[in-house]
Subunit: 144 residues, 2 copies
DNA sequence: AAATTAAAAGAGTTTAATATCTTTTAATGG
DNA sequence: CCATTAAAAGATATTAAACTCTTTTAATTT
């Protein structure tokens, strides 16, 4: 569904949002541990998200990543597009050069609704929406 | 969504089904051309599908791949499971070790419905179902 | 039986995703 | 301004997916 990079990105963003409630900065080690992700790899991904302004960072002592009130409005779709591009928007499920109504593959109509629901879902859910969920203690960013 | 192998597999199966209507055998070259897939690669995939009895083959002159009436009942899910395994059934969207109600990731509930619809769709649609669609001339296994 | 055909099998290559390690830059605190 | 901290950047390594090529096996046709 999503690439590993994208999975790490979403988990990291949700993790940072959670910790950013009280203006705290989150270090890359903490993110990696909190989301059970490879530290150096998720660091690379955070650099990318940071360059794209989906998250902010400060270097040096007491530095790390954080989100402001505006950043919490980032949707899952924003993250997916930043990391995986728009392939889930435009690619044909069977790999035709393009997905279109003009030249549809045999499963085009069957997948149309599913893709629409998927896209609606990731556009509607923002990073901030997950804060309460995690607070409730009924949802997790890692297991073990 | 699916691996490239799986895309080729589905297209190849639909293609063979179409040609099997009149007991014909379809060679690997024809499959590759008809589905715009790399010949040797799709050959490997067909070997796999053949070993798993989702399709039949005969060697030698006038040989090739074919499907009998029973094979047309193969669902898209059968092909997906044969090639990509059951990852779309059991994997967590965010890569947790397992997807479960006990230890759900933050997006578990949002994705549950989408995954359910996806699975229902691929279980309900059989290879035979696509014969008429292709006959209608309104659906394609390749473009250009 | 020999020649031919086409899939099966095996082995190898290329490419992209994933992951790790090292060096540099920027911020802070003493 | 020096030492420390932590992210940014760069470079390298590993793995798996995607793709290709060659040889073998099993049919058919003559
Ligand atoms: S053409 Fe294949 S999904 Fe639209
Ligand atoms: S736990 Fe993540 S999708 Fe179910």
């Amino acid at each position: 569904m999503f690439s590993k990079s994208c999975e790490y990105a979403i988990k990291a963003m949700i993790f940072i949002a959670q910790k950013s409630k009280d203006e705290a900065r989150v270090g890359i080690k903490e993110i990696a541990k909190g989301t059970d992700s490879p530290e150096h790899f998720v660091a690379k991904i955070m650099q990318d998200l940071s360059r794209r302004k989906l998250v902010h960072s400060v270097k040096g002592p007491n530095g790390g990543f954080y989100m402001d009130h505006f950043d919490l409005k980032t949707s899952l779709a924003d993250i997916v597009k930043a990391i995986d591009g728009d392939s889930i928007y435009k690619d044909c499920v069977l790999g035709l050069k393009a997905c279109s109504e003009k030249n549809p593959c045999p499963v085009h109509n069957e997948f149309k609704e599913i893709k629409k629901n998927l896209i609606m879902m990731i556009e509607d859910n923002t990073i901030g929406d997950f804060n309460e969920k995690l607070d409730s203690g009924k949802f997790f960013l890692r297991n073990k």
